[in-house]
């Protein structure tokens, strides 16, 4: 009996937190389906009696979501591709090759995890300005596309776990370093690469502060900044605002549902053993 009660309480606790985790999404969804005036009815309606899709076309026509989405997707895809390629290369170099200063350089790179983004923001902005990259995608893509400490660290942990025999066999067959890396190592690291890929995708899609200061032309803007500016236009219309938030979140939520396993894995691969 005590056990049943105990488990019951545990489940109650877990369900309570699950409801809190998901409630804002539910509220966003049903608000976006309500009629504009019904959104402010008090007490609030928990289940709309009619389902309207007009809010979505309303915001879609008000601000050009298609453009913002494709802008964001463009930046994100290049960032993901670059991060995967260069993180994998660096991780392979740090885990499989010997050269003077290797470990020192690795520690230096790990140290960059401790540098808060905010410290580099102003000098980086000035650098972009002197390169003439303000209001271009170069400024959004190039500083981030060559990999980062976290990605290198994660993939290095993975490579360290790959037995050396695979590479030795390839080398005996006469494959060079580059070919071994591309044909043997990368295919083996597929799951780790997907993990890093989905994380990078989400980070880039959610990125707000950097595009906010870099991009000035409205037609070049990314989705997070566009959504924030929508707030000024829809002050009295929560249904439109929620539809906009839902459109912004949809790709992320879809990726999460499809690749949830990899998000959980990304945390497990952070390597705190």
């Amino acid at each position: 009996m005590k056990k049943v009660l105990d488990y019951g309480l545990t489940y109650m606790l877990l369900i309570f937190f699950a409801v809190i985790s998901l409630f804002p999404f539910y509220w966003m969804l049903i608000t976006s389906l309500k009629d504009r005036k019904r959104a402010f009815v008090y007490p609030p309606e928990w289940i709309p009696d009619q389902i309207l899709l007009s809010n979505f076309s309303k915001v879609w026509n008000k601000i050009d979501f298609a453009t913002y989405m494709s802008n964001t997707l463009f930046v994100t895809v290049i960032l993901v591709a670059g991060q995967l390629m260069f993180c994998a290369m660096a991780a392979y170099g740090f885990s499989r090759m010997t050269f003077p200063g290797r470990d020192f350089i690795f520690v230096l790179l790990l140290g960059s995890m401790m540098i808060p983004q905010i410290v580099t923001m102003i000098p980086l902005y000035i650098l972009m300005k002197s390169l003439g990259w303000i209001d271009t995608y170069k400024a959004l893509i190039i500083p981030g596309m060559f990999g980062n400490a976290f990605g290198v660290f994660m993939l290095r942990q993975f490579f360290l776990g790959v037995p050396k025999e695979f590479e030795d066999a390839a080398r005996i067959d006469g494959a060079g370093i580059v070919r071994t890396f591309v044909t043997i190592i990368l295919p083996m690291a597929k799951s780790a690469l997907v993990t890093l890929g989905v994380l990078t995708f989400v980070q880039s899609w959610n990125n707000f502060q950097w595009p906010l200061i870099i991009i000035n032309s409205p037609e070049k803007q990314v989705i997070s900044v566009a959504l924030a500016s929508l707030q000024g236009q829809f002050t009295a219309d929560m249904t439109g605002m929620m539809a906009g938030a839902l459109i912004t979140l949809a790709p992320i939520l879809i990726i999460f549902i499809v690749a949830q396993k990899y998000f959980v894995q990304s945390i497990q691969m952070s390597g705190f053993k």
Binding site: Y7, L14, F17, A18, I20, S21, L22, F23, P24, W27, T31, F40, P44, F86, C87, M89, A90, Y92, G93, T98, F99, I105, S112, M114, P116, I118, V119, T120, M121, I122, P123, L127, P143, G144, M145, F146, G147, A149, V152, I177, W205, N206, Q209, I213, S224, L227, A228, Q231, M242, A245, T248, L249, I252, L253, F256, Q260, F263, I267, S270, F272
Partner: protein, 307 residues
């Protein structure tokens, strides 16, 4: 380490030497893109911020050297002092509350119950969502007059809360942030707990140790590396709260939610006061350095008795 090449004069080894050097070259080539970008876009800018903090520069006139004048101005700037206070108290609430909550959830999650895996996934959803978008949703949920939160509070017989008043606005930002990040810290802790060897628990069981004793003497000490990681990244992250503040309160009402990051952003990109904003960044950087080093020392010096 590679042995000193000058000691090896035998001809057969010369070939090997060449090969080693070629391998070095490959090694450097493989890490070059990431390391080069890190130098150019991270390390050099970090050093540059110290230099910039000694100048006055608005992009219109040429930069002029002003020495420590920016720092003098900082220490007499009531808004900066206030902002420092707001940020500190935010961090002091955010980190412990979030990890305490995570710990409670982890203890529930690590029990052998059916369907527990599904909860792990659900708790992670807030973590991946776009902060700006979800902040807008929370703003609607917390709306003082027509928001569902106050309606629910009323249902439970509590008073309405004016979530965006100067007394409450920062607490609202804190709440949204805890909602968004607790899932992540929970899963990190769970991984840490699951990697503790089972034999510790088994021998504690044999000794008849109580649940609380097991927690204090086995779980907590062995979680140390995980907790150190969480505290360091959590504190650095909390000091840089920005998106939620920008979206929900825009620093207001008054300056009640003007956290450091927001202040630096405004100084740099609204008032184009690059030198002054850099000086603020330098102070923040030094604070974070000191806190991080402190944490390393504290964690290193707390040894637990596992016997």
């Amino acid at each position: 380490m590679i042995s000193n090449p000058t000691l090896e004069h035998a001809p057969p080894l010369l070939n090997k030497q060449k090969k080693i050097n070629r391998n070095w070259l490959y090694g450097y080539l493989f890490i070059l893109p990431t390391f080069g970008a890190y130098l150019l876009f991270s390390l050099i800018p970090t050093l540059a911020v110290f230099v910039l903090s000694l100048f006055r520069w608005d992009f219109v006139n040429n930069p002029s050297f002003v020495g420590v004048q920016n720092f003098n101005r900082l220490f007499h700037d009531p808004l900066f002092i206030k902002s420092l206070g707001i940020t500190f108290s935010y961090v002091l609430y955010n980190v412990p509350l979030q990890y305490l909550l995570s710990l409670i959830i982890v203890l529930a999650l690590s029990r052998p119950l059916r369907g527990v895996k599904a909860f792990r996934v659900i708790y992670l959803v807030p973590w991946v969502t776009t902060p700006v978008a979800i902040s807008i949703v929370w703003k609607w949920v917390l709306s003082p007059t027509t928001g569902v939160m106050n309606y629910l509070l009323g249902k439970m017989g509590m008073d309405r809360v004016d979530w965006f008043s100067s007394a409450m606005a920062m607490k609202s930002v804190l709440m949204v942030n805890i909602w968004q990040h607790t899932g992540f810290s929970t899963l990190i802790m769970l991984v840490g707990i699951q990697s503790i060897p089972k034999m510790f628990y088994e021998s504690a069981k044999i000794d008849g140790a109580s649940v609380t004793r097991v927690f204090w003497h086995i779980t907590l000490p062995l979680l140390k590396p995980t907790l150190l990681f969480l505290f360091i990244t959590g504190i650095i992250g909390s000091f840089q709260i920005f998106d939620a503040v920008y979206t929900i309160t825009n620093g207001g009402p008054g300056d009640s939610t003007s956290v450091l990051y927001f202040l630096i952003y405004k100084q740099a990109f609204n008032f184009l006061d690059m030198g002054y904003a850099s000086a603020m960044s330098v102070i923040l950087f030094l604070i974070l350095m000191i806190i991080t080093l402190l944490q390393f020392t504290v964690f290193r010096n707390t040894t637990y008795d596992l016997s």
